[in-house]
Amino acid sequence: MTPEYSLFEKQALSSPTELSDRHWDVFISGFSKEERVNEVFDCVKATKKRWIGLSEYGLTKEDYPDNCVRVPGSGEESLIVSALSDSGLELSTDQSICIDATGILRQYLLVLLRALSLRRVIRLDVIYSEPSRYGQHEETRFSGNELLGVRQIQGYEGSHTTDTRDDLVIIGTGYEDRLVGAAAEAKNHARKHLLYAFPSLQADMYQQSALATTRVHESIGRNIAAERSFAPAHDPFETASRLRDIVSRYGSMRKISNLYLVPLATKPMALGFGLYYLWECNNTPTSILTPIVRNYSPQVSRGIKRVWLYRVELPG
């Protein structure tokens, strides 16, 4: 059974302090130097609170707080081992769980979802804090220069078919053009469909991501759909619905041999990609891809504009 994503609950809070009247058994957040990440961590009340320290942020031992579980490597399995198995967090179905997605890189966020799903967790809360502004505005670079390649996210690797003639790639476009280009080239031969974050988190971000895609037009190639799709940057559930619509529309015109999903826009949209996969793509020739970058900036924004609280339901 596939869900009606629009019925999933979401709530916008004007300040992290509004989280203080809630309580969870387990709270997990990705440590970074972002004000919005740290403030939320301080406000959340939970029996067990854990920071996850991702090596991609390039922080030193001294930077990390005491209750931080450091992930030693840069593969998703490192996260599973360190954050879930070795951290003393015994995640189970009878616990209330909350994850702050703001400081967790996309691939780790998605693998956490998958791991929880495998543990039969069917409900959790996810927080995302929008920044007041990005430090460098449209010049903000979230990731470093070193692009290591494009690969499937662990836990989201489908069983693919040998026929690659009718492959489809859906890219949730962000505004780091080289990542969009790399993802498009990883499946050079496939038809491409772009899903833009609109309305965007900041007024000019949509234009920036549209510009980014024109810069990599050559990488995307001819097989790009003339039609663009949009999903609100802050809404994972609307994103999942859009993905369902896009896939269904393509499928009705021509069979899809293999489907590749590439979440490069916001964290809430990445969450939407994950949800769509977990609910609708298991045991299908579908994978989620991500460009792998060696380093990410541990601080790119200032302030908190609003905090989103998503009530996420996973397939049982």
């Binding site: 399995e77 070193e146 692009l147 690969r151 662990q154 069983s159 040998t162 026929d163 050079n188 001819r222």
Partner: protein
């Protein structure tokens, strides 16, 4: 400028579709039908198939930069294209072509999942080898499905097809289609185990096939059991080899070594995509010549010169043919392609091309004289202008160099003056000699010193004129674009795509009776150059260093080209003794070549002092417009290993700036010879015009 353009005859107006004929630049974007219809061959004996030799049993590695045409060639040899060429009858195609092409896009394997995840490399090697058997086996059975026809349930055929299984899991299979389904089921079970291994921590795959038992076994069985496939070579066309990691390539290399007839391989890889030649047989490497052949497509094109140019003319004409109603004769179209582009007619004084100097500076001083005056005045004050002691002499010097209606001659005069200055010769006397020679050069069309400078530096001096007078550099005409493509046909298509788009944007009708304007050409070329640089997304720190190094070299060459007295003409090339470089720099340099940012020049460069042959590299001419460099290669600058190391070092921007400053100080008046920070001792440079040259 050419004004008597031969318009396309009436009736050859643009077809109704205004779509950009160069919009598709990649063969992966083509349908099978388009692979067929856009195919053009290189005009050499046997054509491209003569190079790829699909019937030959020897495996071949087809390498080349991005856009060299590997995929188009390999897809052209694939069964689906073969069928299209023979009335959709694969059997007839096999009979006519003498082979069956099985095209496999290796990116479809998503091979990166077969590593890590807390599992040993050995475990992954076994699982990947097994998975390849299942994957390729399905591929091949799908390709030959139609050809099997009534023999689908042939017991003997099935017995032979399934004899590679080490268990009895395939015993009950009654048809070839059933075998395909069985392989798919096994593949899905491996997928399940592989994909869950990161979360489960275990990798439980039961391997029930030996290496090669399907990849070689299926062709053998089909060849033995199906009449029309008897003696037919089965050619595996593995494209996008760069998508496999080292261990996975080792496995493919092992298949190449252990190849069993009637199967053979053509493996397509980008130049940077070969990670190893090792095999699983005690790490031994496969040997070029005896175990495989190599076709370096872009190198081959670069060496072909005129043939390559003719090939590209055919390629463009093929894209344009459908735009004309009624259709035009393709050969005639090829011969007229240059006429579609606005270009300069060049006489010995570049009269038309330099007319802007006369037009734009009627009432004001020409910028290069203005600059000279300032330099002379400052140098007289600093006592570094030989033979000049008074500011009053500045105007006299400048006046002797003027040839108002021949800006190019003025630039040659300046070059000769700077050369004399660099040698410490008294400038006032030198100016008089230059003036006499210039007069001779203009009136008789020849004067020794001017002839030599014009022959070597004419286009560099034009580039200087353009830059000094605020004009765009001239990268115009089809020949220039073909030169810029440097063996990568896709680069030409990208240039033409951008030029076409700009022409349309500017309200022109490209490829009609109206020529494509200079403006559209210069904008299109610059867009294409910037795309080429941005597209080289070389992964890892080595990639970052390679890109940065090429950018630094581009800056160095630009500074030299626009100096007062460039040491070399048409400079876009350097030489270095590669064996003297440290291993890290060599790796980065190789990476820049593999990604086509640099082109290695065959034959190298003989060092002027030691007579040693150094390695020689040219900045890819696609990048030339970014630094306003020439697209053709003439002069070469010898760089020391330290200079090259600094260029390719990650955090050496300041040090390399110093290299540029040191180099250029010797080429700009007042020609300071003392380097601010001396590098290692260098052999003295022999200039083009050193003492005995005039």
């Amino acid at each position: 400028m050419v004004s008597d353009f031969q318009a396309i005859p009436e009736g050859e107006a643009l077809a109704s579709s205004p779509a950009n004929p160069f919009a598709v630049t990649k063969a992966v974007d083509f349908t099978d039908q388009e692979i067929q219809s856009f195919w053009v061959d290189i005009p050499i004996e046997g054509g491209l198939l003569g190079l790829a030799r699909p019937r030959a049993p020897m495996p071949m590695l087809i390498t080349g930069g991005k856009g060299s045409g590997k995929t188009h060639l390999m897809r052209y040899m694939s069964a689906s294209a073969q069928k299209l060429r023979h009335g959709n009858d694969l059997g007839a195609a096999i009979t006519a072509d003498g082979y069956l092409g099985v095209y496999v896009r290796l990116s479809g394997l998503n091979a990166s999942r077969f590593r890590g995840k807390q599992q040993s490399n050995e475990a992954w090697e076994d699982v990947f080898a097994y998975y390849m058997e299942l994957w390729i086996g399905q591929h091949l059975l799908t390709v030959i499905h139609d050809t099997i026809g009534k023999q689908d349930g042939d017991a003997e055929l099935l017995r032979e097809l399934t004899q590679g299984f080490t268990d009895d899991s395939a015993a009950a299979i009654g048809t070839v289609s059933g075998l395909s389904t069985h392989l798919n089921m096994l593949q899905r079970s491996v997928d399940h185990a592989v994909n869950n291994s990161s979360l489960s921590g275990s990798l439980e795959v039961e391997v029930n096939l030996n290496r090669g038992s399907l990849i070689f076994g299926i062709p053998r069985a089909l060849s033995n059991q199906i009449q029309r496939l008897r003696n037919c070579p089965f050619l595996y066309l593995f494209d996008e080899f760069e998508n496999l990691d080292k261990a996975q390539q080792k496995y493919i290399n092992t298949l190449v070594r252990e190849k069993e007839p009637p199967a053979s391989f053509r493996i397509g890889a980008r130049s940077y995509g070969i990670r190893t030649y090792a095999t699983l047989s005690a790490q031994e490497e496969i040997k070029e010549g005896s175990e495989f052949e190599r076709l370096r497509l872009d190198d081959k094109f670069r060496k072909k010169g005129q043939t390559y140019s003719a090939f590209l003319h055919r390629l463009i004409a093929r894209r344009l043919e459908q735009r004309f109603v009624p259709p035009v004769d393709p050969t005639a179209l090829q011969q007229r392609l240059e006429d579609f582009f606005e270009d300069w007619e060049r006489d010995s004084f570049l009269t038309a091309e330099t007319q802007f100097v006369i037009d734009n500076f009627r009432d004001t001083e020409r910028p290069y004289f203005d600059r000279l005056k300032k330099k002379l005045a400052a140098s007289i004050q600093a006592q570094t202008a030989p033979g000049l002691s008074s500011i009053d002499q500045v105007d006299q010097v400048v006046e002797t160099l003027r040839v108002p209606d021949k800006p190019l001659v003025e630039k040659i005069n300046l070059f000769l003056l700077f050369r004399a200055w660099s040698r410490g010769k008294p400038l006032e006397q030198e100016c008089k000699v230059i003036q006499q020679q210039a007069s001779l050069f203009v009136s008789k069309g020849s004067a020794p010193r001017h002839d030599k400078v014009a022959a070597k530096f004419k286009l560099d001096l034009l580039a200087q004129l353009l830059r000094e007078c605020g004009q765009k550099q001239h990268y115009y005409g089809l020949d220039t674009f073909i030169g810029m493509s440097a063996g990568l046909p896709r680069n030409l298509l990208v240039i033409l795509k951008h030029v076409f788009s700009w022409a349309e944007f500017l309200g022109e009708s490209p490829f009609s009776s109206q020529r494509i304007s200079f403006r559209a050409q210069e904008r299109g070329v610059l867009d294409a150059s910037q795309w080429f640089l941005a597209d080289a997304r070389i992964p890892g720190p080595t990639g970052t260093a390679a890109r940065r190094g090429v950018e630094r070299l581009g800056t160095l060459f630009r500074e030299i080209r626009f100096s007062d007295k460039p040491s070399e003409c048409s400079l876009a090339t350097f030489s270095v003794c590669k064996s003297d470089l440290d291993s890290r720099t060599r790796t980065v340099l190789d990476k820049a070549c593999e990604w086509s940012l640099l082109l290695e020049v065959v034959g190298g460069q003989k060092d002027k002092n030691s007579k040693r042959v150094d390695d020689k590299y040219q900045i890819n001419p696609m990048l030339a417009p970014i630094w306003q460099l020439p697209t053709s290669r003439r002069g070469t600058i010898a760089l020391s290993p330290r200079e090259v190391t600094l260029a390719f070092e990650q955090d050496s921007t300041g040090d390399f700036d110093q290299v540029v400053a040191n180099r250029v100080a010797r080429m700009n008046a007042p020609f300071k010879r003392t380097a601010v920070r001396p590098t290692e001792p260098r052999p003295a440079q022999v200039g083009l015009f050193d003492p005995d040259d005039t």
